[in-house]
Amino acid sequence: MSKHLENVSRRGFLKTAGVTSGLILAAPMLSNHVMAAARGEEELVSSGYLAIKPDGTAHVFVHRVEMGQGSRTGLPQVVADELEADWGRLHIEAAFGDKARFGDQNTDGSTSIRKFYDAFRQAGAAARMMIEQAAANEWGVSVSDVEAKKHRVINKITGKSEDFSKFVVAASKLEVPKDVQLKKKADRTFIGKPQRNIYMKQILTGGTQFGQDTIRPNMVFAVAARPPVVGGKVTSYDKAAAMAVDGVLDVVELPALEMPALFKPVGGVAVVASNTWAAMKGREALNAQFEDGANASYDSAEYEKQLWKSIDGDSVTHMKRGDVDAALEGASKTYSADYYVPHQHHIPMEPPAATAEWNGDDLKMWVCCQDPTSVQETVAAFVGKKPEEIYVEATLLGGAFGRKSKPDFAVEAALVAKAVGRPVKMVWSREDDVRHGYYHTVAAQRVNVGVKDGKVTAWKHKAAYPSIGATFNPAADQPGAFELGLGLLDMPFDTANMQVDTGKAPAHVRIGWMRSVANIQQAFAVGSMVDEIAQGEGKNTADMWMELIGFDRKINPSVDLVKQPGAPRDPQYSNYGESLERHPVDTARLKAVLDKVVQMSGYGKDMPKGKGIGISVHRSFVSYVACAAEVEVTDGELKVTNAWMAVDCGVAVNPDRVKAQMEGAVLFGMSIAMHGEITAKDGAIVEGNFDGYPVCRMSECPPVETAIIESDAVPGGVGEPGVPPVAPAITNAIFAATGKRIRRLPIKDQLST
């Protein structure tokens, strides 16, 4: 869609936006009253997500952001399918932040399809039914005698057909049906069929609008010198020296960070200039000095020791089944292993950027954010406005992986623009991105397993890592149940005695969520240990998984959760915010994806010396993914030579995008396994760019083959669940190839030493 068209039609819809607000999530269908208001526009509004113009153009409002995961293509597919639309006559609108109208816009947690599949289907189906009804009325036939097909309505009696446009105005005067008739699977036209990225043309001609690409009239550019340690403060800077740099226009101090960190900016000093480079040079010239504050002693090597002390020390028990200590005591054989995964960083290709424009008291913003409504809320508190008074457009995102759901950078843009009285683009450099992140945590885990009579009888798992909760509440000093629920509390094992414990781990940097979150370290520990037991018991790892998982059943992890002292109610397994009825923990589906990768990879066959295949499987974001990785280790050099992924995500709306996400997840998981390590020294992050924090390059990319399990289950997540099984599959493959067990990530040069 061209930028021009987008703006024009958005204005058109804004006229009715005032009356449509407030109804969206709770009741996606509009009331009569709202329909009456919409009549003035003579457009058919079946929900906040869909408005059909008299010429038949279907405007689909995609309130979720696009960051490569395909939501701006997939959600329109869902509407188009139920609407019986012609794809070429959809007009896909990148929606602005408006919680009242659109409901949750926070695009993370792999939720776009799984949370909005029903609402988008209903929007399409309701509009189709209204158009069919209008056509039946016009032709004087029963509605069962008409049928919508590809933007036309067919009169089944006469065989005659007419374009949707003929009926839009009449249809807009009808009631929006409360009970919609959804299409049958066999009649699907878009759901389950590959559909190309709607932004392809712009991407291939350089015409995209990412956050870094925003241009406003009279705009200037800003970068900032920020305290290297979280909670640090500026002590001095040389404003005159910065102003002396050619192109520098102004220097603006940012408010110091008061804990808790939340999504607030970290403080520092911004330099504003006529281009980004001049601003960067001005920042050098500033020579800003900082006092480091309470986190100045954070040192990754020291902190690791502290984590292992916590693993040895006191425990809080979150999950308990049977008597794990007695079972370990009585075991004929025990396994114990310590796993370590350091801080990781999102490092999206596009560093964060935000543009703010004040017009008197009006504030407009363009931000590569994962949630425009959280930008509204976070900025509002700093500029003395109500969230809904700020217009925020989520631009395209050049990757995000969780980083861009924290809008600290947007606040900076709003404040600096206000101070200089011109539109400002706040540009983060790569170093800014790497040194001022919301890092994936640093995790130590110990797993103790007991085997008796050839059967695993005990699994005791302890984890110590700084919690995401600490970013919001400094009192949170160990993993929370919401994090343990990502792969530990829901371990799908039919083992009689199990326990999940945590140890203390205070945070000294801002901890955030990164693609697949705590599943990263938890699936690594679980997936590695299963392989270790299999090895020790002389079994094949696939068989070991099958044995541990046990018979086909649906698990309710809540039954074994331990109520914490003072907790108001019994703990509930969070299940990624879904009910267990809609999205069960289904062991049959888990086993099926594992079976599939075993088949695809030929796991179990004899491999030449120095080569090996490893497998792992994990359920996350209510989807099931198994990975098999084949590696070759020559003279200590690791090469991943093949990868196979099998995914069961329920209905795969856009199968080709599901595959693309699995391909991407393999690379993301490989980067974690092989390279990713963020470290702190004297409270500051050591790494700064892709040299210090490498991610996989083309030459490291193996062929990836993906199988999607055919399923009628409601859609699960896709963007994240591919990541967790990758790292353990690789390290298990290394073991198969070399006999060397990798228990700490990244692998880096562990194979050559």
């Binding site: 241009i215 490092i347 540009v427 990836v704």
Partner: protein, 152 residues
């Protein structure tokens, strides 16, 4: 005021002589197809052509642009580039798309100089172009496809 030849046209720019072309192109000339990913020559998002050769615009200074022909993604129209675009579309290569300006610039440059690249040739030519979304497998296939299209 410096003057450079960009996409076939002379343009003048009021920026310090040491300004990397990346920022000249993006901030002064408002052509944002050339992307900023690292600023230190390690990601390739900022790839432009200087006298037909792929270069990192974050490392190429305005003062060195005297007398050379610069072109950005917005100015590509030869058959190599068109075939690359067609192949990219056919295989639905992109995810977020941010790295892809650099990828297609580098890919087209490769098939101009090497009409039948092997996997190894592709890996070598494009190893400097990072893609955090992990689209490498499709890029590789699309370069082969673009090369085939050149022959057809």
């Amino acid at each position: 005021m410096a003057s450079i030849k960009l996409n076939g046209q002379r343009v003048s720019v009021d920026a310090a002589p040491d300004t990397p072309l990346l920022w000249v192109i993006r901030d002064h000339l408002n052509l944002t197809g050339t992307k900023f990913g690292c600023g230190v020559a390690s990601c390739g998002a900022c790839t432009i052509l200087v006298d037909g050769e792929p270069m990192r615009s974050c490392q190429f200074r305005l003062e060195d642009a005297e007398g050379v022909e610069i072109s950005t993604i917005e100015g590509q129209e030869d058959s190599a580039f068109k075939n690359v675009q067609a192949a990219w579309r056919e295989l639905d290569v992109v995810q977020c798309g941010y790295c892809q300006s650099g990828q297609v610039m580098a890919a087209a440059a490769l098939i101009r100089s090497n009409p039948k690249p092997t996997d190894e040739d592709i890996d070598e030519a494009l190893n400097g172009n990072l893609c955090r979304c992990g689209t490498y497998q499709r890029i590789r296939a699309a370069v082969h496809l673009a090369a085939e299209k050149m022959e057809a």
